[in-house]
Point group: C2
Chain length 236, copies 2
C-alpha cells in the first residue's frame, strides 16, 4: 500500500530507499562507518534529512549511531529481519535466494498451524472467500494465466492467515505474497501451476469450511512441503 510510490514521497524516504537496499545488499559491509556529512553530500540533502533516515535505519537495527565514530553498519545477525522493508530490500538484492529460502521455511512452519486455527475460527464470509479463491485458482490454472492465478493464490493464503485469528500470523500475508510473487516471476510464463497443488488448495478450503482442523493443517503442510521442494530449483 504505502510502499515504493516513489513519485514524491518525501526526501528522507528517498534516501532510505537508496541507503537501505545498499546496506542489505552488502554494498556497505558490517563495520563500515558512514558519516552524516558525507551522506548529506552524497544524496544532496541536508543533514536533518540524513538524520531522520538514519533514525529509521537504526530502528531496524541495520546501523548504530555513535558519537565521534559515525554511523556503523551492524552485523547481519542483529538486523530486524521481520521488518517488511528489510525483507523487501533483501528480496530485491543479491542474497535474494537466501531470503527466499528463509521465508519459505517460515511459511512451512506457520501456515499449517494457521490453517488449523482457521478451521476453528473462520467466519462464514472468510470460508466463502476461501472457496471463491480456490475456484479462481482452478479456473486460472491452465493456459498461461499465471498472473490471474497468482492473485487468487495470494488472496487465498492471506485469508487463511487472517482467519487464524492470530494477528502475528495475519501480518505474514504480505511476506507470503512476496514469496509467491517471486516464484511466479521465475516460472516466467512457461509452466502452468502444479495441478496437485491446486487440488490441495480446494481441499484446504473445504477442510476449513467443515471445521476439520487436523485435515486443514495436514493438507497445508503438503502445500508448504511442495513449496520447499520447489525451492531447490529456484534458489541456488
Amino acid at each position: 500500500m504505502d510502499a515504493t510510490a516513489n513519485g514524491e514521497k518525501g526526501l528522507h524516504a528517498r534516501v532510505l530507499e537508496s541507503l537501505g537496499p545498499a546496506i542489505t545488499a552488502g554494498d556497505h559491509p558490517p563495520g563500515t562507518v558512514l558519516r552524516t556529512d558525507e551522506l548529506a553530500e552524497r544524496f544532496d540533502v541536508s543533514r536533518t534529512v540524513i538524520r531522520e533516515a538514519v533514525r529509521v535505519l537504526e530502528s531496524m537495527h541495520l546501523v548504530a549511531s555513535r558519537r565521534r565514530v559515525g554511523v556503523t553498519v551492524r552485523p547481519t545477525e542483529e538486523w530486524n529481519v521481520y521488518d517488511p522493508r528489510v525483507i523487501g530490500w533483501r528480496l530485491a538484492g543479491r542474497d535474494r535466494p537466501r531470503q527466499l529460502r528463509s521465508l519459505t521455511v517460515l511459511r512451512s512452519a506457520v501456515e499449517p498451524v494457521a490453517a488449523g486455527l482457521a478451521a476453528r475460527h473462520a467466519t462464514p464470509a472468510q470460508c466463502a472467500a476461501l472457496t471463491e479463491h480456490a475456484m479462481g485458482m482452478v479456473a486460472t490454472s491452465r493456459g498461461q494465466q499465471l498472473d490471474a492465478y497468482l492473485v487468487h493464490d495470494t488472496a487465498f493464503h492471506a485469508v487463511v492467515l487472517s482467519a487464524s485469528g492470530n494477528e502475528m500470523f495475519a501480518r505474514l500475508a504480505e511476506v507470503v505474497a512476496a514469496v509467491l510473487t517471486g516464484r511466479t516471476q521465475h516460472h516466467v510464463m512457461f509452466t502452468d501451476p502444479d495441478p496437485a497443488a491446486v487440488t490441495l488448495h480446494v481441499q484446504v478450503a473445504e477442510a476449513i469450511r467443515t471445521g476439520d482442523a487436523a485435515r486443514a493443517e495436514a493438507l497445508t503442510r503438503q502445500i508448504t512441503a511442495g513449496a520447499m521442494a520447489e525451492l531447490d530449483v529456484l534458489a541456488p
Copy 2:
C-alpha cells in the same frame, strides 16, 4: 537548557519510550491526531527531536504523518507487530494477555519446525550447549530455583532456534525469552516446573544430538502444546 544529565540515551529515544507505549496501550486510540508542535511542548524538546521520534514510529507503522492534518495513529491491524520494541511495549501494557497468547501460538508453530531443522543442522558445540542447558534445567527444577531454571530454559530454546540455521527463527529467541520470562513471573515462586516438561527438554536435546528430526519435532510440539495449555490459566 536545563542541562541536567537527564538520560543516558538520546532525547528522541526518551520520547519514543514514552510515546510508543502510550500508543500501543491505547492511550491514543487509532485515528487520534497528534501535532508535532504539541508534542514538542509536551515533552519539552525541539520539533526536530519529535520528528525523529515520529519517523521511527512511522517506520513501525504505528502512525502516519500527513501534511496539514498531523500525525495520526494507525489502526491496530497495520502495526508492525514483529518489531521487538512494539512487542515489548505491548507486553508491558494493558493487552499483555493478548500479546502473550499471540506469541505463544507463534511459538507453537515455529519451535517444532526449528527443532526438526536443528536435528539436521546443529553443530557439535550446539548439541553440547543443548544437553548442558537441559541438565541445568533438571538440576534446577526442584526447590524454588525458578530464576536459575528460567536462564537454562531460555538458553535452551535460543540454541534450538539458532541451530535451526534459519535466521528468521533465530531472531525469535528474544520473543521466546519474553514469553518464558512472563510465565515465570506469574508462577511467582510457588510451583516448581512441570517434571514432564523437563523430561521433554532432555529428550529433545537427545533427539537433536542423534539427528532424529521427526522425534525432535514431535517432542517440541509436546512442549509448545503444554505452553498453550498453560496459557488458559495465565491469560484471561
